[in-house]
């Protein structure tokens, strides 16, 4: 039933009608006669340990019994937007040392724009080893859904028939595929190291240095098929897993080529190959897309979903030195190596800087999604069907040398993460934080009421994301308090 609906949808793509006249939506002007139930997952991996008490669950010094011993913030550094709180950019602390990374984007800006869709969800991680914790943050502790990543689980529900349902641009443990060998081959992730060159790898000849007429390539492929028909090697090994899989991959690869992804996904003009026609629109929301890898990844994530290539995309560059467009000027920026993990040596600035960078990319992506008509659901934006999940390795220690502003922190299991989506009940913290320990506590999954005796774990977050995105699987831990409807 599901695949039939998808086929119908894909067929319908050919007869799509014009966009909404006068609408604020700047969509591709497309709609499907038989729209399915699209759901899009964007996973923005916060590498190294993004601390929730240094971002959207901070504690003011005046609220804590031990303000100087714990990683609290002076009251004037905190902002409140609706039901949420955040930390102002630590610009002065960052500027005090030229070796410190820049802090350019305010958490408050993110809440001002998207706060109604932001849920802060407290949780405990299960490992303080980076790669292990990263992988578990995507697999729900490894066991939530047969070892699948949340990307694969969402693709199982919404990705059949798409050319590349799961694309993963993240690093280290976040780059790993799930471990369920029963997962359909078409749902296996495609790992991407570089968002700029990736589109070239979606076609066998388009844009190669010495161009070749497509008709000649087709002729060669037909001849290759005939050669393989008489090949003793092919005859001898035709029943092997390797050759059967290769034949199947070639068939699917042909569909990828037919989708003409080079012209849709390319992020830069190359000789004879113009960039995606959406690039100008993207630059309005992601101004550093031409310079910064993380923003380029966000742009590719948007294009992959907008062009019905993927439904589950992960990104979160680890690149440290980059360039950003600041007030119209291309400015070199050096972010901490190992991302948020630079908190080992400079906790406050590292957290502030990395949150700034991650949120700037997320903000740009979400604004694009909000202003783009959904290709399969006319009169709705892509954002109406999207969720952005910010998994991270773990939290950070909460203690500091008395009253010090410059200090380092180790890893800590206790933390919380962000979910941003119109599909969830946002503008809310699920759980809470003890101001005297800065440790977070959980909540009732039915009502959302804080519960100091409970704690959510990776599997709960996995279930919550799957629940919000209507991705069923056996044993899913639903979270009615969080999910709308």
């Amino acid at each position: 039933m599901k695949s039939s609906t998808r086929r119908t949808f894909l067929t319908g793509m050919g007869s799509l009608v014009g966009g909404l006249a006068g609408s604020r939506l700047v969509g591709p002007g497309t709609a499907s006669a038989d729209a399915a139930n699209p759901r899009y997952l964007f996973v923005l991996t916060a590498f190294g340990g993004a601390s929730i008490v240094d971002s959207f669950l901070p504690v003011a010094a005046s609220e804590s019994a031990k303000p100087g011993e714990l990683t609290t913030f002076s009251d004037d550094l905190l902002d409140t937007v609706g039901g949420l709180r955040c930390v102002r950019p630590l610009v002065e602390e960052a500027a005090s040392d030229p070796r410190q990374p820049p802090v350019r984007y305010a958490q408050k800006s993110f809440l001002d724009r998207h706060g109604a869709d932001v849920a802060v969800v407290t949780m405990n991680h299960s490992s303080v080893s980076h790669p292990t914790a990263q992988a578990r943050s995507l697999t729900g502790g490894g066991t939530a859904d047969r070892g699948r990543t949340i990307l694969e689980t969402v693709a199982e529900a919404h990705g059949h028939g798409l050319p590349l349902p799961v694309v993963n641009m993240s690093s280290r443990g976040f780059s790993l595929a799930g471990t369920d060998s029963a997962l359909a081959a078409e749902l296996r992730q495609v790992a991407v190291a570089d968002p700029r060159s990736f589109p070239l790898g979606t076609h066998g000849s388009q844009g190669i240095v010495r161009p070749l007429d497509l008709e000649l390539l087709e002729r060669a492929r037909v001849v290759r098929g005939k050669v393989e028909e008489v090949s003793l090697f092919s005859a001898r090994h035709k029943n092997t897993h390797s050759l059967q899989r290769w034949a199947s991959l070639r068939e699917r690869a042909a569909a990828v080529e037919e989708a003409d992804l080079v012209s849709k996904l390319l992020l830069t003009d190359l000789p004879g190959l113009p960039a995606s026609p959406d690039l100008a629109l993207i630059r309005e929301s992601l101004p550093s897309v031409d310079y910064d890898i993380m923003q380029a990844e966000a742009a590719l994530a948007f294009l992959l979903v907008k062009n019905r290539v993927s439904c589950s995309v992960s990104f979160g560059s680890l690149s440290l030195a980059t360039r950003e467009l600041v007030d119209g000027v291309v400015t070199p920026s050096v972010y901490p190596p190992e991302g948020f993990d630079a908190a080992h040596t400079s906790h406050r600035v590292a957290q502030s800087s990395c949150w700034s960078r991650v949120l700037a990319a997320a903000d740009g992506l979400i604004r694009l999604l909000k202003t783009t008509e959904d290709p399969s659901r006319p009169e709705t934006s892509m954002w109406d069907h999207s969720l952005v999940y910010f998994p991270t390795d773990f939290g950070r220690e909460r203690t500091r040398p008395l009253d010090r502003l410059a200090f380092g922190t180790g890893h800590h299991l206790n933390n919380g993460v962000l979910l941003v989506s119109p599909l969830i009940k946002g503008n809310r913290v699920y759980g809470g934080v003890d101001p005297d320990t800065l440790l977070t506590y959980g909540f009732d999954r039915e009502t959302g009421e804080p519960d100091k005796g409970s704690v959510m774990v990776e599997e709960d977050l996995f279930g919550a994301v799957a629940h919000a995105l209507d991705a069923p699987f056996p044993g899913r831990r639903d979270m009615p308090a969080l999910v709308k409807g």
Binding site: L164, S171, S197, R210, L243, W246, L249, D292, I293
Partner: protein
């Protein structure tokens, strides 16, 4: 362990009994064995990942490994070796035409001296992940894919088509090194052109280390169902042979 010892002891006893037998059985004749049929789905061939693919193309087509395949972005399709400063800068999204300038800035010098920046062998390149490599230093991808993915056949076609095109073009522009058995510079080649069949045979030896069967040669001549230029025939025949499973798996 005990079971194995008992079994071994039993075998030795039987051997001893057999040795004392006054009328031993004649030694069994070794029967010639036919090659086993590879028919069950669990048998696996070894997939030629990027290093082997690139190395074999380099050897077969007499191209330096760096010249096997480069994208329009300036990146090699796949490579490995120590990371140079320019490799690092590329990973930071510095455009190709600004590499020298950025390199000078980093070195605080009026000249860029590109050299080893990270002295560890590190795979990299536009398609290295999909071709079975990892890229630890520049992309934080530590684990290579276990088996080919949907973009792998595309990347293989792309790399081979580029390598074959490079060799053919070099042989047209200068003294031919690989396509020496027919006039690669000719504007029209058909199945009756001198050296065409010899070229097919030569390419098989270069790429697959064997001669083609008559059926394979006939199939390849299908490329000339409509005439091609010499360069096109060279490129396409090379492409066909080097993208068959026999070249990609071993």
């Amino acid at each position: 362990m005990n079971y194995r010892l008992v079994t071994l002891a039993g075998a030795l006893v039987l051997l001893a009994v057999g040795a004392c037998d006054s009328d031993p059985e004649p030694a069994p004749t070794i029967q010639p064995r036919s090659l086993p049929e590879v028919s069950h789905g669990r048998a696996r061939l070894r997939w030629k990942r990027f290093r082997a693919l690139q190395h074999d193309l380099s050897r077969a087509l007499a191209l330096p490994e760096r010249s096997v395949c480069t994208e329009r972005t300036g990146q090699q399709c796949a490579a490995s070796g120590p990371v140079t400063l320019k490799d690092w800068l590329r990973s930071e999204n510095v455009p190709e035409d600004q590499l020298d300038e950025e390199c000078k800035k980093r070195q605080g010098s009026s000249e860029c001296v590109d050299g080893i920046y990270i002295p560890y062998d590190n795979p990299r390149g536009a398609h290295v992940i999909t071709l079975g490599g990892n890229n630890t230093m520049l992309a934080g991808i530590h684990d290579a894919i276990v088996e080919p993915i949907v973009t792998t056949p595309i990347a293989v076609d792309r790399v081979v088509l580029t390598a074959c095109g490079e060799r053919a073009a070099l042989d047209v522009e200068g003294a031919p090194e690989v396509f020496t058995l027919f006039d690669i510079a000719s504007s029209v080649v058909d199945a009756s052109t001198d050296g065409v069949v010899a070229t097919i045979e030569d390419l098989h030896r270069r790429l697959l280390a064997r001669s083609p069967t008559a059926a394979e040669t006939d199939a390849l001549l299908g490329l000339l169902s409509d005439p091609l230029s010499g360069e096109e025939f060279a490129r396409l025949s090379c492409f066909v042979i080097a993208t068959t499973p026999e070249f990609i798996f071993q």
